[in-house]
């Protein structure tokens, strides 16, 4: 089996086989995470920089745990102390980091395209941990993992992605990834929260009526309303948003009995998700997603840092 990627920046560069290998590898790491010694020596001697130029708790923690469990040395770089605050350019910052002889950069930035820029400047492997409103590939992979684990396969799966499609980097990776795996994707959002061309992301259907869409769906992916990222106000009130687009207890009966609910977190309870749905023992796989985050990030680090693929078959 071959894995010919140096970076995880653009999910559309990955084939269905690449993604399945990543998910299968993630599954293998489950055993590691569930024993007493939750650590393997695989990345001993590798140095990973977590360059988070934008606040992030979940993604950064998840990467840090993944790195530690693989025995990589990791350096957290960023936050309010970043050199960019002092006026240093991104290029200079990356070149400085590279002088430390590092092997991989995990980058979160509020500007689209930064991971690619860093890859070009640094020459080391780069994982995009979210760039602006563009992509967030490890989030998409952990979503796929959770869906795969729950549903067993992606074939003919109908998936609704509901909410702020237009400002969501999660969607930038998730929707193309679902398409690569062969799912049928419906995006549901008020027109004010849709991107200009949902079809370019890969959406098969676009709707502004959640109630109409729900009965068909195997997976309902609720997006976080990112209040901090909405220029102007694209909906009149959180109350009305919840009324029209929230996955409420009332909507439970519209859903297939085996339909599951995903959310990238953190949840705005009472806005996009009722507690009834968020905590639903059968439907909600939200905590599975968080766990999957560690698994797929371990898998990504493992596959990207693995030595030259020389066809060694043992």
């Amino acid at each position: 089996m071959a894995f010919n990627h140096k970076h995880l920046i653009d999910i559309t560069q990955y084939s269905a086989d690449d993604i399945m290998l990543l998910l299968e590898t993630a599954k293998n790491f489950k055993q590691v995470n569930e024993r007493r010694v939750k650590k393997v020596p695989t990345l001993k001697g590798f140095t990973v920089v977590n360059m988070f130029n934008e606040p992030s708790t979940r993604t950064r923690s998840s990467f840090e745990i993944a790195e530690k469990r693989l025995s990589a040395d990791s350096l957290n770089f960023g936050g309010s102390s970043t050199s960019t605050v002092k006026g240093e350019s991104l290029v200079d910052t990356v070149e400085t980091l590279c002088s430390y002889k590092i092997d991989l950069i995990v980058v979160r930035d509020k500007h689209a395209g930064v991971p690619r820029k860093i890859a070009d400047v640094s020459g080391v492997s780069v994982i995009d941990a979210g760039d602006g409103k563009h992509q967030h590939p490890t989030q998409a992979l952990l979503d796929l993992y959770s869906i795969w684990e729950r549903k067993g396969s992606f074939d003919n799966l109908k998936v609704a992605v509901v909410g702020d499609i237009g400002h969501s980097r999660v969607c930038g990776s998730l929707i193309p990834a679902l398409k690569i795996m062969g799912c049928d994707v419906t995006v549901v959002a008020p027109p004010t929260l849709l991107p200009a061309r949902p079809d370019i992301l890969g959406a098969d259907h676009v709707s502004s009526n959640l109630d109409e869409v729900l009965p068909e769906m195997d997976v309902v992916y609720m997006l976080r309303i990112q209040r901090e990222r909405l220029e102007g106000a694209p909906y009149p009130s959180l109350r009305e948003y919840n009324m029209l687009y929230g996955l409420t207890q009332k909507r439970d009966k519209l859903m297939k009995p085996d339909a599951c609910v995903c959310h990238p977190g953190p949840i705005n309870r009472g806005v996009e998700l009722d507690s009834f749905m968020a905590d639903h023992p059968e439907r909600s796989i939200i905590l599975d997603q968080v766990y999957a985050g560690v698994l797929v990030r371990m898998a990504a680090l493992y596959l990207l840092l693995g030595g030259s693929n020389d066809g060694f078959d043992a």
Binding site: I9, D10, S89, L90, V91, D109, H111, A112, G113, V114, R116, K117, D120, D131, G132, K133, H134, Q135, R169, G172, P195, A196, R197, P198, I200, L201, E231
Partner: protein, 430 residues
């Protein structure tokens, strides 16, 4: 001093000239146009195989001085102009400080006269500080030589203010040039809204953000009678609005840039090349084709570059943080020759109208015709020269061209301003 330009194919639609002949120049003006001319004493140049046209004019250029000299200054910007075959440029007023009063106009004209290699028309700001709030002293600026007015780079947001600008300007026989951008629609838009904005995950700059302003300003032109020039039209529908206004008989003109004609939003890949970040943004292939059609059918009056130099370090950063704009002076003619003239979309006559005759008329300057008595501003073109655009060849201080690496055929070899060479055999004359 006398100058004899011999054996060039001289093309000037203003006088119906297209033949190989000689031009004798003395004291900055044409003395005689004819065959087998001779002179007693002076400089003689053999331009066999070359095409000579009235000096090209680019009426949309950012020379950055005062205030932005690290990007470009009047000396380097006019050298880039000469190198690109331009005999005159119009400097935009969005400098620091803004050129919104007579003192600013005088400063730019004085520096240009002292250090420049091209004539510099000065566009004054319509509103003080480009804020779109208070009228600038247009009358005083005209008295000190301002050639046009514009709030380029921003656009005047309030329709009432725009009406005041046009009402007031209409008394000065000057064109009001508009950068059509509705901030409510455009916001922090980075690239064309649609495929590019979705694909790249950045805020979109919708075509309607431009078209609404064009429609509004055409209506205000109808109301005020003030001559209106729409800068860098980028969309098919925007051009249709201009076409309709012209059909109606309104004093409306417009310009397009090479980059909006010959590049599209598809040029911006996952590499997020900041050299393609321009305002207005690169649009769709359909829009680009419509602009070319407008150039051919006469809807477009001028080809301009919106030459917008920036330092390497300003451009070499996050796309969303990089400034808008690309340079154009040194690639414009080559691109127009390669993609329009050589392709048969337009002929040399039409090119001269777009790049010399109409721009000069919009600056309200006297025409440059190839006939006795006229100012001796010429551009000499080698139509057969094949060349590759390289940053190292630029006279501009900036390298932010979107056409680095482009293979072009045809370029200016000599540029004459008032009978003096500013460029000879491809080299700017110092």
């Amino acid at each position: 001093m006398a100058l004899m330009l011999k054996n060039a194919r001289v093309i000037d639609p203003q006088v119906g000239l297209d033949e190989v002949c000689d031009i004798l120049v003395r004291d900055g003006r044409i003395v005689e146009v004819g065959h087998n001319l001779t002179m007693e004493k002076g400089v003689e140049r053999d331009l066999s195989g070359k095409v000579l046209v009235p000096g090209l004019v680019d009426i949309h250029v950012h020379l950055r001085e005062p205030g932005g000299e690290q990007k470009e200054d009047i000396a380097s910007g006019t050298r880039a102009a000469a190198h690109g075959g331009f005999t005159a440029v119009c400097a935009m007023p969005n400098t620091a400080p803004v050129i919104d009063n007579a003192m600013g106009v005088e400063y730019v004209k004085a520096v240009a006269a002292a250090k420049g290699k091209a004539r510099v028309y000065v566009a004054g700001a319509c509103s003080q500080g480009l804020k779109g709030e208070t009228l600038s002293e247009m009358g005083d600026m005209v008295a000190h030589g301002a050639s046009a007015f514009t709030d380029d780079g921003k656009g005047i947001q309030d329709a009432g203010m725009m009406r005041r600008v046009m009402d007031y300007a209409s008394q000065f026989n000057r064109v009001v040039m508009v950068h059509a951008q509705d901030n409510g629609l455009v916001g922090d838009g980075q690239v064309n809204e649609g495929v590019a904005s979705t694909r790249l995950g950045m805020l979109g700059w919708p075509a309607e953000g431009e078209e609404i302003e064009i429609a509004r300003d055409i209506a205000l032109c109808r109301l005020t009678g003030c001559p209106l020039h729409i800068q860098h039209v980028t969309t098919a529908r925007g051009l249709d609005l201009v076409r309709a206004a012209k059909a109606e008989g309104l004093p409306v003109t417009c310009e397009v840039t090479p980059h909006h004609m010959f590049l599209t939003e598809d040029a911006i890949t996952d590499e997020y090349q900041t050299c393609f970040k321009v305002n207005p943004p690169l649009r769709t292939a359909e829009d680009a084709a419509a602009l070319v059609a407008g150039v051919a059918d006469g809807t477009v009056d001028c080809i301009v570059t919106d030459h917008a130099p920036h330092t390497d370090w300003e451009k070499d950063r996050e796309f969303e943080l990089a400034p808008f704009g690309m340079t154009g002076l040194e690639t414009s003619l080559g691109l127009v020759l390669t993609h329009l003239v050589n392709e048969g979309v337009i002929d040399f006559n039409r090119m001269v109208e777009l790049m010399a005759v109409n721009p000069r008329q919009l600056m309200r300057d006297e025409p440059v015709k190839i006939e006795a008595g006229c100012v001796a501003d010429f551009t000499v073109i080698d139509p057969e020269a094949s060349w590759t655009v390289e940053a190292g060849d630029f006279y501009s201080r900036a390298n932010n061209s979107g056409f680095i690496g482009a293979q072009l055929k045809g370029r200016a070899t000599d540029t004459y301003v008032g009978g003096y060479a500013t460029m000879e055999d491809g080299v700017v004359v110092e």
